[in-house]
Subunit: 647 residues, 2 copies
C-alpha cells in the first residue's frame, strides 16, 4: 500500500460514476474523463486550496479545464465532495447521484464547463479547444494585480495542443513570468479522428515546452507518487509545465479496444465496465467512501467597495494624458479618446488592460504609461489576449483589451466563449470601417457590426444582452462610452476609427446603453448613421439643404441594441423615410432598423447605403469613400432619389 | 568584391525606391521593407524559377509575404525587373516609377499584398499577420497533388511569430513533410509597439523551430554569401527554416535612431536617406542599373480541360460511400450528405479536402478513405486549415475544408483574408445551430449566419458575391448544394446540422445560387426558414392547419444572397405576412427579408422568431428547441399571434 492508496481507491469510485453518468446522458466523453481522473482527484481532494462548499470564495485556487469535454471527471469529484453549485442566491449542494442529470436541460452539469449555467467552480467556459491556458494566464494576472498568491491549474489535452493559441499562451506566461500557472498536459495519445500527430506526442510536447522556456516535469498521470510532487513542486523563476502520460479510457477494458473518443458505453456494456473498475478496486482494498479530502480553505480576498468607476471630466483626462492641445482644438480621433478614457479609468485599481502590440495606435499606450503594473502586453496574439482578458475578468478585475478591429476578428471564437462565460470583458476595436484607407482591406473591420449585433439581441442568464456594442462618432462620445463600458456588467465592444475628427458633443452630453442622438431635427428624411460616417452625413445634410431646400433629421445611432421604436417614430415624422448610412457590410444598423420597421405596421421605409464592394487601398478617407460610393455627395444623391420617389 | 557585389549594388537602388515610394504614399513600412530587401532581391533576381513577364505561369515558384506590410521591398524588385501586373486580359508592365503610385486608389500596388486588385505575382492577400506560412503550406499541398516540383518561399516577421497560427502551420508542414516550403524568419528584433519579446528573438525562434522538427539555418540576412546557400540548399527529409538576422531600416541612418515601425520619412528627410544609401553604393561601386537577374522560366502546368465537377446521382454516391441503407430509408443528416457528395466529387482530381480532426463527424472521412492522396488532415488547428485551404485554391485545386461550424469561427479572420484573395475556397461548417443539443453552446454555431451574410452582400472585383452561403434542409439538398459549390467560382460556406432527418426533396430537384423552395403553398401566412428548422416548421404548418384551418406557405430559404423580391411577393399573397424562423441569433434570414421589405412600399410585414437567449446543453433536439422557444408549438403560437393581429 503506497501513501496514496486511499486516493487510488477513490479514483475507482469516481471512475464508475464517470461511466454511469455518460451512459445516462447518452453522450459525453467518458474515455477522456478517465484519462484525467487521477489528476482531478489529486487537485480537488488534496492540492487546491478551496472550499467545495463555497465556490465563490475569491481567494481560492482555480482549475481551468481546457479540454472541456473531459468535464465528467470534475463533476464526479465535486459531487462526491458534496460541492455547491447553482447561483449564489440559490446554492445547490450536489449529491453524487446528481451526476446522472449530466447534459439535461434543467441540470447545472452542462456538456462542457459552463459557469453561469450553475457551475461556478469553473471560471471559464471551455469546449472550443485550446483556450484554457490563456484563461488561466489571465486569472494569474488578476491574482498578481490583487496581491493574491492563488495558484491556477489548467489541464490541456494533447490533441488540442495543436491549437496555436496554446503557444501564444505559453509565450505570454513566460513573458510575464506567471509562475502561479501550472500547465498540465494530458498526453493520452488520442484525438477525435485518430491518434494524435507525432508532433503532439509526450516527447514532442516536452521538447516544445522546453524550447518555450518552461521547467517541464514528465510524469505517469495515473500514479499519485509522481502526480503529487509535480503538482506541488514550488516554481522557481521558470513556470512549471507537467506532461502527464495517461491512458484514454483508463480502467475500462472496452475503452482500450478502439478509439472511443466522444462515445459512451451502451447500457448493456456498463456492467462489464463497472466490474473492470471494481476488480481494480478490490486489488486496492480500502473504503471507497472514506473521506480522503485534505483541503485548506483559503481566506477570501476583501471585496472592493462598490462604486462607479469614474474617468472624471474629459478636459481633466486630456490634461492627465498630455492632450491639452487637442482638447483646446476640439479635434481628436475616437481611438485616442478611448485611450484617454482608459488611462483615466485606470486610476481605479480594479481596471486592467491588455493590447496586441499596437498600443501606440489604439492609445492603450496611455494606460500602459500611467499604470504599467496593471497592463499586460499580449503582443501579436489576439486569441490569447481575448481569452486572457476573460480570465482577468473572472479574476475580478475590469479588463479592457484592444487591437485593430480587424485583428479582433482573430478572436471571435474566443469572444463567443467569453460570452458563454458571461465575462465582464471590454473590447476595443480601433481603425474600424474603411476610414483607415491607405493600409487597405487587410486592416479594415467591415464584418464586425454584423457579428457583434447578432450577440446584442440574445440574452444572458441575467437577462442582459450577451454583448453591448458602441460606436462613437467623436472624442466626447468615445470618452463617455468607454467610461460607460466600465460600469455596465458584461461584455461590451467599442468600435473606434483612425481619423482625427472635430468634437460634435458638449462635454456634459450623456450617453446610455441603447441610446442615440438626434443631431439635426428636420422633416423631410431621417438619416441614421454612426461613427466616422456621422461626419460625412453632416456634410451631406448641408449639401441637401443647400441644393433642394429640404431638411433632413440626422441621428447618431451609437449603441446596439438600438431604440428602434423611437427611431421609427422620427422616421415617421420625416415623411416616413429613413436612409441608413454605414461604412460596413450588411448586417449592421440598417438591419437593426429594417427588422423593426418590417415588424411594425407604421409603413416607414428604410433605405440602405452601406459598403457593397471589397475596398482596396486609397490615400485618404475621402479617396476611399469615393472608391466605395459613400461620400457626402453619394449620400446626398441617395437622399435625392428618395425625395424623387416619395414626391 | 564578393561574388554577389552586383546584387549588393542592386539593393542600394531598390532601397532608394523603397524610401521614395513610402514617402510619396505618405504611409507604408519602409523600415520593415529595408530589412527584407536582400532576401527579396535574392529570391526575385536569382532563386525563384518564375517569369516576371507572366505572373500567371502555373509552374512558377511562389513567394508568400506573410509580413505583408513589408511589401514595398517586393514592389521595388518587381517593378525594377519590369514585371507584369494587372489582369490577365489587361496586363500592365510596371516601370520603376510606378512604385510612386503606392497605395493610391487607382494603383495596383496596394498597401499590403492584394492579388485580385492587380498584383497576381502573389497568391495570398496578407496583412493580417501570421497567415503566410499556412498559405505557403497549402500551395505546397497543391503542388504535390499536381506532381509539380515548385518551391514555395515564405517570409515571416519575428513580431508576427507570436501568432499561434505560425505554430499550427509548422506542425502541419512537418506532419505532411512539405519540404517544398522554405520558411524564412525575418528577425529584425522590432515589432510595432516595442522590441520583440525575448520569446521571439532569433535565438528563441531557432530553439522553437528545432523543437518543432525543422532543419534550421541561422544567417545574416544582409549577406548574400549566407543568404544564397540557405535559400538554395536542397531539403533533406526535414523541411528547412531560415532565421535571418536583419536590421530594421537597413541602410538609412534615420531609421536606426528609434522605432520607425510603420512610419515614413518626411519629404525633407528623404535626401539624407538617399545619400546614406548612395554612400553605401559608392563603396560597392558597380552599375546599379545592370541587369543582374538570372532567372529560369518554368514550364507551365498543363491546364485542366474545363468541365463541370460532377458528384453523379445521389443514389450512386450513396452506394459509393456505403450508404445504401440510409438512401433506401430516405433519412440522413445534412452533414453526412455533404461527406457523400465530397467523396463523389473527389473522383475529379481537381478536388482536394482538409478537415480539423473531426472528419468522422463532418463525414470528410468518406473523402479521406477514397482519395487519401488529396486529403490533408489539419488536426485541431482551424486557422491554419482555412489559410492552407486558400493556398490549395491558389494552387489551382478546388479545396473543401470542414469542421464543426463553431470551430470554423476560429478562422473568421483567415476567411476574411481568403475573401480578399478571392480564393476559390469551399467551407463546410457542421453541427450548426442548436440541434447538436447535448454538447452545449461551446459547440454551437449561432453567429455564423450574421457573419457570412455580411459578406454575401458585397462584391468581388468580378462582381460576384464575396461569399455565397448555403443551408440545406435535407440530404438531397446538401448533396446538390455541395456539388454546386464545386462549380461556382469563389468562396462558399455550407452550414450543415447533426441530426438525421427525412429526405424532403426528390433526387431530381435542382438548387441554384440565390434560390429557395416553395414547399407548401398556402394563403394565410408565409413561413420562411432554412436548414434543420424546415422540419420543425413543417410540423408547425400541420399543427396550424389542424387547429385553425388556416394554411401557411412554407419556404426553404437555402441560399444567401436570397431572392427577396420573390419571397416578398409570396408574403404579399399570404395576407402580407411573413414569419421567419431561425436557429441562430439576429442577422440572418429575417434581416435579409426585412431589409428588402422595409425598402419596398409593398407593406409586407416580417415577423422574427429566432434564438434570443444563450442556449445550454439539453439531451435532444426537441429539448433544446423547448429550452429556447423554437418548437413546432412555439412556431404555431407565433403564427396564431400574427393571425390574431391581422384579423
Amino acid at each position: 500500500m503506497g501513501q496514496y492508496s486511499d486516493l487510488d481507491r477513490k479514483v475507482i469510485k469516481l471512475g464508475k460514476m464517470v461511466v454511469r453518468m455518460c451512459t445516462a446522458a447518452g453522450s459525453g466523453h467518458p474515455s477522456s474523463a478517465l484519462s484525467i481522473l487521477h489528476l482531478t482527484t489529486a487537485l480537488m481532494y488534496r492540492v487546491m486550496r478551496y472550499d467545495p462548499k463555497n465556490p465563490w470564495n475569491t481567494g481560492a485556487d482555480r482549475l481551468v479545464l481546457s479540454e472541456g469535454h473531459a468535464v465528467p471527471a470534475v463533476y464526479a469529484c465535486y459531487a462526491e465532495l458534496g460541492g455547491v453549485a447553482g447561483r449564489q442566491d440559490a446554492p445547490l449542494t450536489l449529491t453524487f447521484d446528481d451526476c446522472l442529470t449530466l447534459r439535461e436541460s434543467a441540470s447545472v452539469l452542462d456538456g462542457h464547463p459552463n459557469p453561469p449555467q450553475g457551475f461556478p467552480f469553473f471560471d471559464a467556459a471551455t469546449g472550443s479547444l485550446g483556450q484554457g491556458v490563456s484563461a488561466a494566464a489571465g486569472l494569474a494576472c488578476a491574482a498578481r494585480v490583487q496581491g493574491s498568491d492563488k495558484q491556477i491549474y489548467v489541464i490541456v489535452g494533447d490533441g488540442e495542443s495543436r491549437e496555436g493559441q496554446i503557444y501564444e499562451a505559453l509565450d505570454f506566461i513566460i513573458d510575464h513570468k506567471l509562475t502561479a500557472v501550472r500547465v498540465i498536459f494530458n498526453a493520452n495519445g488520442q484525438a477525435q479522428s485518430d491518434y494524435v500527430s507525432p508532433q503532439q506526442s509526450a516527447e514532442a510536447l516536452t521538447k516544445k515546452l522546453e524550447a518555450f522556456g518552461f521547467d517541464v516535469k514528465v510524469i505517469d498521470g495515473h500514479n499519485f507518487d509522481e502526480i503529487m510532487p509535480a503538482l506541488t513542486a514550488p516554481a522557481t523563476d521558470k513556470p512549471i509545465a507537467i506532461v502527464a502520460k495517461t491512458v484514454k479510457g483508463w480502467g475500462v477494458n472496452e475503452f482500450l479496444t478502439s478509439n472511443y473518443h466522444g462515445k459512451t458505453l451502451e447500457e448493456s456494456q456498463v456492467a462489464a465496465a463497472l466490474a473492470d473498475l471494481d476488480a481494480k478496486g478490490a486489488e486496492l482494498g480500502g473504503d471507497a467512501d472514506a473521506d480522503v479530502a485534505q483541503l485548506t480553505t483559503p481566506q477570501a480576498r476583501e471585496a472592493d467597495a462598490y462604486a462607479e468607476v469614474s474617468a472624471g471630466t474629459f478636459e481633466e483626462a486630456c490634461q492627465y494624458t498630455g492632450n491639452d492641445k487637442a482638447f483646446a482644438a476640439k479635434k481628436m480621433s475616437t481611438r485616442k479618446a478611448y485611450g484617454v478614457a482608459l488611462a483615466a479609468l485606470g486610476r481605479d485599481r480594479r481596471v486592467t488592460a491588455m493590447d496586441g502590440d499596437v498600443r501606440g495606435s489604439t492609445f492603450a499606450e496611455y494606460f500602459f504609461k500611467k499604470h504599467p503594473e496593471r497592463f499586460f502586453e499580449a503582443r501579436i496574439a489576439e486569441q490569447n489576449m481575448i481569452s486572457a482578458g476573460a480570465g482577468l475578468a473572472a479574476g475580478g478585475t475590469i479588463p479592457f483589451v484592444s487591437s485593430f478591429a480587424k485583428f479582433i476578428v482573430r478572436g471571435y471564437d474566443q469572444i463567443e466563449m467569453a460570452a458563454i462565460s458571461e465575462a465582464n470583458l471590454k473590447i476595443s476595436g480601433s481603425h474600424a470601417g474603411i476610414s483607415l484607407a491607405a493600409d487597405g482591406p487587410s486592416q479594415m473591420a467591415i464584418t464586425d457590426l454584423a457579428f457583434f449585433r447578432s450577440m446584442a439581441h440574445a440574452k444572458r442568464t441575467d437577462g442582459a444582452p450577451i454583448c453591448r456594442f458602441f460606436q462613437p462618432s467623436d472624442a466626447i462620445s468615445a470618452f463617455k462610452l468607454t467610461e460607460l463600458m466600465a460600469n455596465v456588467e458584461g461584455m461590451c465592444y467599442i468600435r473606434t476609427a483612425r481619423p482625427d475628427v472635430p468634437f460634435i458633443y458638449d462635454e456634459n452630453e450623456e450617453f446610455t446603453v441603447g441610446g442615440y442622438k438626434h443631431l439635426i431635427d428636420g422633416e423631410d428624411l431621417a438619416i441614421v448613421t454612426s461613427g466616422y460616417m456621422v461626419h460625412v452625413a453632416m456634410k451631406a445634410a448641408a449639401l441637401i439643404e443647400e441644393r433642394s431646400g429640404l431638411r433632413v433629421s440626422l441621428i447618431d445611432a451609437y449603441s446596439m441594441p438600438l431604440a428602434t421604436d423611437e427611431i421609427l417614430q422620427i422616421g415617421d415624422d420625416c415623411r416616413g423615410q429613413i436612409l441608413v448610412v454605414e461604412d460596413n457590410y450588411a448586417g449592421g444598423i440598417v438591419d437593426e432598423i429594417a427588422q423593426a420597421a418590417a415588424a411594425s405596421d407604421m409603413g416607414v421605409m428604410v433605405h440602405p447605403l452601406y459598403l457593397k464592394k471589397m475596398p482596396k487601398s486609397a490615400k485618404t478617407p475621402e479617396d476611399i469613400l469615393a472608391q466605395v460610393g459613400l461620400t457626402a455627395e453619394d449620400i446626398a444623391a441617395a437622399a435625392q432619389r428618395i425625395f424623387d420617389m416619395s414626391e
